[in-house]
């Protein structure tokens, strides 16, 4: 298993990304053909892209910790918590929207930092640490405003969130910008490479002077920050938020990177793959709406896609191993 990311990660990733792009295009073409072109209309495209932003962010948030071989179970509830804090700052405290947005993202980064520090200081498995912080944040999320809803805040922010440039929604552009930044970080920045080195082989990374502890803390920090961005996007997009936001984000946050070819053992990331996987999941949603089929089919199909994607990756590894060993 570990040889997967140690041998030639580039090729296997590129393969997965091409496959995913192909699947997305074919899927979209089928949708366009069978719905008499209704998914080609501007309004539908805008809606598809608008609600792609949050899944992209939570997928990348999970990917950041998977890069160092950790998991972050608090991604979903943290998104909801950041959204609630951001709305609370605007409605109750009366902060201007831009400041509340920044604070919302900082809360995410702060929780991520705490996650990372707890993992490093206590040496408890990251899965368990984030299980505990997930439980705590779940409580805090309800603590902000109970089960009530915040609405009618900052019309400017909501207009910005729902606005679009040349038919492309603003929130989607923001998500793409963030994704590009994450991609550049993992591909070009020394710190990003150190994270991947630490995730791929902690022992080797330590011998080459990389601090594994720092890598863990930074990965969790980035994960929290991206969850904060997802929360802020939710605030800007929906116009009203309550404490149930984030309930249904945890498992999709794993689905996107796993379909996108990110290994759970660490050392591999694929920003393009994760975003494409989020798009495919979004298209399944769209198909459900277009054909007005039972929404429960969506979960069933996503399950099949997750397993199928992983099996294909696994087959490829087996085939490569067979071709290299005489």
């Amino acid at each position: 298993m570990t040889t997967l990311n140690l041998t030639k990660p580039r090729f296997s990733l590129r393969g997965t990304e091409f496959t995913l792009a192909g699947i997305a295009i074919v899927f979209y073409a089928i949708l366009a053909a069978t719905t008499h072109g209704s998914v080609l209309s501007g309004g539908t495209i805008t809606a598809i892209l608008q609600f792609l932003a949050v899944p992209m962010m939570v997928g990348l948030s999970q990917m950041a910790v998977l890069a160092v071989g950790q998991m972050n179970l608090s991604v979903g509830v943290l998104t909801g918590f950041c959204a609630m804090v951001c709305a609370w700052l605007m409605v109750q405290v009366g902060l201007p929207a831009w400041l509340a947005v920044i604070c919302g993202m900082l809360v995410g980064a702060g929780v991520g930092l705490i996650n990372g520090l707890l993992v490093v200081l206590t040496r408890i498995n990251g899965f368990i640490v984030t299980l505990a912080t997930m439980t705590i944040i779940d409580g805090l999320r309800y603590g902000v405003h109970g089960t009530a809803t915040y609405q009618g805040y900052a019309p400017g922010l909501v207009a910005l969130g729902r606005g679009s440039i040349l038919g492309i929604p603003g929130v989607f552009l923001l998500a793409v910008l963030v994704a590009v930044a994450v991609a550049v970080f993992f591909r070009r920045a020394a710190l990003g490479r150190q994270l991947l080195a630490s995730g791929g082989n902690p022992f080797a990374a330590r011998l080459s002077g990389v601090s594994n502890d720092r890598a863990l803390v930074i990965a969790h920090l980035i994960s929290g920050l991206l969850a904060g961005v997802a929360g802020v996007i939710t605030v800007a997009l929906s116009g009203s938020v309550n404490a149930t936001i984030g309930d249904d984000l945890l498992l999709p946050s794993f689905a996107a990177p796993i379909i996108g070819g990110v290994a759970l053992v660490g050392g591999v990331v694929s920003v393009v793959g994760t975003c494409l996987a989020a798009l495919i999941i979004r298209l399944v949603d769209v198909a459900q709406a277009q054909y007005s089929i039972n929404p429960q089919w969506v979960d069933l199909i996503i399950g099949a896609v997750v397993l199928g994607a992983v099996l294909i990756t696994q087959l490829r590894v087996v085939r490569r191993r067979r071709s290299t060993s005489p």
């Binding site: 794993f254 759970l264 979960d299 069933l300 399950g303 099996l311």
Partner: protein, 359 residues
């Protein structure tokens, strides 16, 4: 890296107490996480009882707490079965829901008696678990991914099935004995003036399950081989253990126990409904992890799982009586989880240092 050392000795952590004196690097008894848990439980019970005397009210608190605890102990055991391999089962909830559907369907459509429905559901749960285990063993895909996919798939499937066969969300069937199981305690059965203790009828089912799992992992060859597989797959394979089969069997047990948990919850709720298992994921990890079961595999603690589940249940009930909202009480459960595990590490560290100095 350093954790590899203890896993090489065959009987890992399940029997540290018995060999305590002979083994040179053994830990003193207070390094045992179960003792710490028990102390915390006793302290919490005293505190809650002092703050709210209603906490000791038999009918209002003690009996419902035991019913809930029965469910969560079995849920914890379902996760423990997967953890014994170093695997995870993210699909405990949907497995329970799917099995509960099978039970409801058998009782509703086939007019089967409750016990037949239960057996049918257990078989279905076991088969689903075995299918997950088979996929993991054959493809070598991480158990996390396989059960994540299964979680999605079953979640969709269960809702579809209920809308196809039931009335959309539940089966409106009450087979004979279900309401008795739900409402009665042993104190309802008297011989002369001597009545049973105020223990709900579902509790013995959970206790029996826990005992069977404990015997499986402690005494049976199958259980020991599963633990070996979990602690070191390669070594187990080289010692002639059919590891593929053991992986499938451990997941089969996980599915079986998830089905039993689904049954117990259905009995407690009074209906086979689609929302069974939707709250299982978190408690399934809380019990075993608090009780000292390792995520890395190869070591389990059934008694610890029981204590872990009991601690969670006591905190929840106690805070509920103190009129905390359910959601807010989660803050404290999370903090207790972190504190318990951190203290565990500290205690373990001190114990190890003392042990090595004495040796």
């Amino acid at each position: 890296m350093t954790q590899n050392a203890p896993t090489l000795s065959p009987p890992p952590r399940t029997e540290p107490d018995r060999q305590g004196r002979r083994a040179p690097r053994a830990l003193p008894f207070w390094a045992n996480p179960r003792i710490g848990l028990l102390v915390v439980i006793v302290i919490l019970v005293v505190v809650f009882a002092l703050l709210r005397p209603a906490f000791l009210n038999v009918n209002l608190t003690i009996v419902p707490m035991q019913s809930d605890l029965s469910v969560f102990v079995v849920v914890g055991l379902a996760q423990l079965a997967a953890l014994s391999l170093g695997h995870m089962n993210l699909a405990v909830g949907p497995m329970a829901a799917f099995s509960a559907f099978a039970m409801g369907w058998a009782c509703d459509t086939l007019n089967a008696p409750l016990i037949v429905g239960l057996l049918f559901g257990l078989i279905v749960g076991g088969l689903v678990g075995a299918a997950a285990g088979w996929t993991i063993a054959i493809t070598g895909v991480n158990s996390f991914v396989v059960t994540l996919a299964l979680n999605f798939a079953l979640l969709g499937l269960v809702s579809l099935l209920y809308s196809g066969f039931g009335d959309g969300v539940a089966f409106n069937v009450h087979p004979a004995g279900m309401d008795t199981l739900r409402n009665n305690t042993f104190s309802d059965y008297c011989i002369g003036n001597v009545c049973g203790p105020p223990v709900p009828l579902v509790a013995p089912i959970a206790i029996a399950a826990a005992l069977l799992v404990a015997i499986l992992y402690r005494r049976s060859r199958l259980g020991r081989e599963i633990l070996m597989t979990g602690s070191n797959l390669r070594a187990a394979e080289l010692s002639g253990i059919p590891t593929h089969r053991r992986v499938i069997q451990a997941h089969l047990f996980s599915g079986l126990l998830a089905a039993l948990a689904g049954f117990l919850l259905a009995v407690n709720n009074g209906a086979f409904s689609a929302d069974i298992g939707s709250q299982f994921l978190l408690p399934s990890f809380l019990g075993p992890v608090l009780g000292g079961t390792l995520l890395a595999g190869g070591a389990v603690s059934v008694l610890g799982t029981f204590f872990g589940a009991a601690l969670t249940e006591i905190i929840q009930t106690g805070l509920n009586l103190l009129q905390f909202q359910v959601e807010k009480s989660k803050i404290y459960i999370g903090i207790v989880l972190l504190l318990a595990l951190s203290l565990d590490r500290v205690r373990h560290g001190i114990a190890q240092r003392r042990g090595s100095r004495a040796a």
